[in-house]
Symmetry: C3
């Protein structure tokens, strides 16, 4: 078990400490946690819970610090500071360098000796696995895949031919990166498959969620920028480009050839057509983006549920809006004639 | 092949038998099935088909019984009664207790000798597998996972560290339970990963569909109540709590920290934000729940498709509703002035 | 590397060649590609890029041919022609017939000797694998599965008991075909599982995307017609029937017992309830089909995002449409009284 003194934490993470530097914490917890744990508050909404806390220490900003009944680590930006302390107190299991005896590794693959390759992994010809990579059980890396240093594939990740992942990428179980895009040419009533000859390039520090799928490009490549965050069950079509540090929540579908800017935040369940989205765009959850968004801003098309009879009446009205508008026009004409 | 007499079935499942108790059935079928099969009717909508049936017997309620031309097993609640008879007539293949020679089981894992562990299964340190569990091929159970008695993991199920499943849970292929939640803290333009330190607890008698994902909690745990039914491709975010006996249809996405009550029925493709939903709420398919629902009831926000030109005109009107409303207001003012 | 002369390609694919028949191409590329590559144009929107191209040759129709600065393969239908040439120039890796030593094949399974069975594949009792099939690593074929000739399961595909795939089907990683449908009968507050006793039949020439799920039927079977195209992360409920040559884009959810016609095109993120859809229906992306569509045509219910404050005002107006309509009615009454 790792424990740290508040003094060490304050120095290491650039916090102002208000309290005893020799107090030690062993874990992170919510505000309801015990005296061996450290928590955080980032919003005044938790003020009441803060006043009651018995934590060993709390990370918070200067504004809330006066209300903290226990030692405080004061930082302008408490949430990422807390995240970094949590990672320090709860380190991942150390790598066990080497290749599991059940793994099937092609003769021309190059596996860095510091990497860990798990049980039942299949690694194709010409694959390169960098330093300190973790390739968990049941992963399949097709020919020519390249993993930069410190990539982690938790388990059961499938990477298609020639896919590249940048340093420190983290990919969760069930993700499929580099399956064929949906390329079909119509010939009479039949579909002819269009070979998908591009691949997928993923930048450094990208996290990809469970059962997310990212298709390979048709002729050119699909590109995921540095620092991108993709939640679970996201679909990224062929030739999509996602800019650096964009975060996308679960169940979002992105049509082929869409271009999404940098630093966007896209809520869950969003549908994105074959459009462009500028940098710094925010889409609230369940949005439908069917036309290009040229400017930063917050966009929405969510329709919150109503009690079903009310909702049906609204939909009925909506579908007769044309009629309502023409009734208004008729009234206006009369009014004008009367004047 | 299992066969049962109608007399046996009537006694075992508490039905009133109208017909020959010695008739035997060997399978279940639709109303179009043959004389060795048993079917059911739960709705008067199938009255015409019922009158034509040549089944060996039909499970139905007293209201429809007079119209049944073949032996009838009369029960107040025909559908679950039929389901139970179907399970009796079509039993699952018996377990083959033991550990497949290809499975990789950590030395500290405890596998009940009555359990079946399939090919290429990976079982981590400290895992506990209860009596009569079935762990199908290609499952991965990370360290500390606990399966209560009679759990069935069909194939290729991934369970993250410390995940617990209650008795008789049934999990379908591709499900990922206990991947990291989507926890990110913004620091300038970059995202800092927030370690996901909770796990997932699943109650007894829960069924989880193919390729469904349930994330582990951030600090506390994600909790799925007893008897819950989750269809395929559902996403359950970190720290979600789902109450007992709630059923959720496919493709529903549930944002982190949402709390869903007991006995809810949630239609397919629904999006649920970080909100609370009371007990006994019904959401029709494709709903968007972006605010807390305090009361039981049926809720909807589905917008049914229209012919595309009609739809575009409706959307145009919708987006100019403000203008229409101000025209109405103008007319009203004039009207008032005229009075 | 395969190379072809334009003369060969013209003859083989029925094109009119405008240019030197001895020019050879080795690959396909976009219009920005080099002189050893062949590209295509199917729309006048790319006219400017066409005029600048330095490709070795371009496949296009007679209308655009005069603007092509390099040799042209003229065909009435350039896209499928290009697709076929691409497949010729970029052939799949040849099969390595035989069963990988790690694969677990049940004694009663019949594997054609020309088929390739990959690492860690699990094949159940009574399975039949046809000529020249490719069963990639980590696939699981439960008992009684039948693969016709030339089926390709890329990797990590799970097929439930008795599932059949027609000739030349192509299935991508993570797909689960034949998991239990979502069949539950309510008994008080509890759900009783309804055994799912049907299976899934997939016609010839079907492509199924990554992480797509197709449930087995309850009593009868789920049926996917010949030539169907299913993109990634599609959910197909139990007893669904999809007609021949229908194409469905990613993230679409189809409720149990829905019947979809032939030659339909269904955009991504569409929700389809338990309804029927006629042949030749087109649904634009993010549509919600909650009632039967009897006639061919193009249907939509997409609501494009707006800037969030504008959107909230629109939703507010929408939810007060009843009130607006009654105000208009009041004005009309007055107007009529005034007349």
């Amino acid at each position: 078990m790792v424990t740290c003194s508040l003094g060490e934490l304050a120095v290491r993470f650039g916090c102002e400490l208000r309290g005893d530097p020799d107090v030690r914490v062993a874990r992170v917890a919510t505000l309801a946690g015990g005296s061996d744990a450290l928590g955080f508050v980032a919003s005044a909404a938790y003020r009441a819970a803060l006043r009651q806390t018995r934590l060993g220490a709390v990370v918070l900003d200067a504004r809330l610090a006066p209300e903290c009944p226990v030692p405080a680590l004061v930082h302008r930006n408490p949430h990422p500071t807390f995240a970094r302390i949590a990672a320090l107190l709860h380190p991942a299991a150390p790598l066990r360098a080497g290749i599991h005896p059940t793994a099937q590794v092609a003769p021309t693959a190059r596996i860095d000796p510091s990497a860990e390759i798990g049980a039942f992994v299949v690694i194709g010809e010409g694959v390169q696995v960098g330093s300190r990579c973790f390739v968990g059980p049941h992963c399949v890396l097709a020919e020519g895949v390249q993993l930069a240093a410190d990539v982690q594939l938790v388990a059961r990740v499938t990477l298609g031919a020639q896919v590249t992942l940048g340093e420190r990428c983290l990919v969760h179980p069930g993700a499929v990166i580099g399956a064929d895009g949906f390329g079909n040419a119509r010939d009479g009533e039949r579909w002819v498959k269009v070979p998908q000859l591009g691949t997928v390039h993923v930048g450094a520090d990208v996290e990809i969620g469970a059962n997310t799928t990212i298709d390979r490009g048709a002729l050119e490549d699909t590109v995921i920028g540095e620092g991108v965050r993709l939640d679970n069950q996201i679909q990224v079509g062929h030739n999509v480009v996602i800019g650096a540090h964009t975060a996308i929540a679960a169940c979002t579908g992105i049509a082929g050839s869409a271009k999404i800017g940098a630093r966007c935040m896209i809520g869950g369940g969003t549908g994105i057509g074959q459009v462009e989205i500028a940098d710094d765009v925010v889409i609230t959850g369940f949005g439908m983006v069917s036309a290009t968004l040229h400017n930063p801003g917050v966009y929405s098309s969510v329709l919150p549920v109503e009690e079903v009879r009310t909702w049906r009446r609204i939909v009925g009205r909506l579908k007769r809006l044309d009629e309502l508008a023409s009734r208004v026009r008729k009234l206006e004409r009369k009014e004008n004639n009367d004047d």
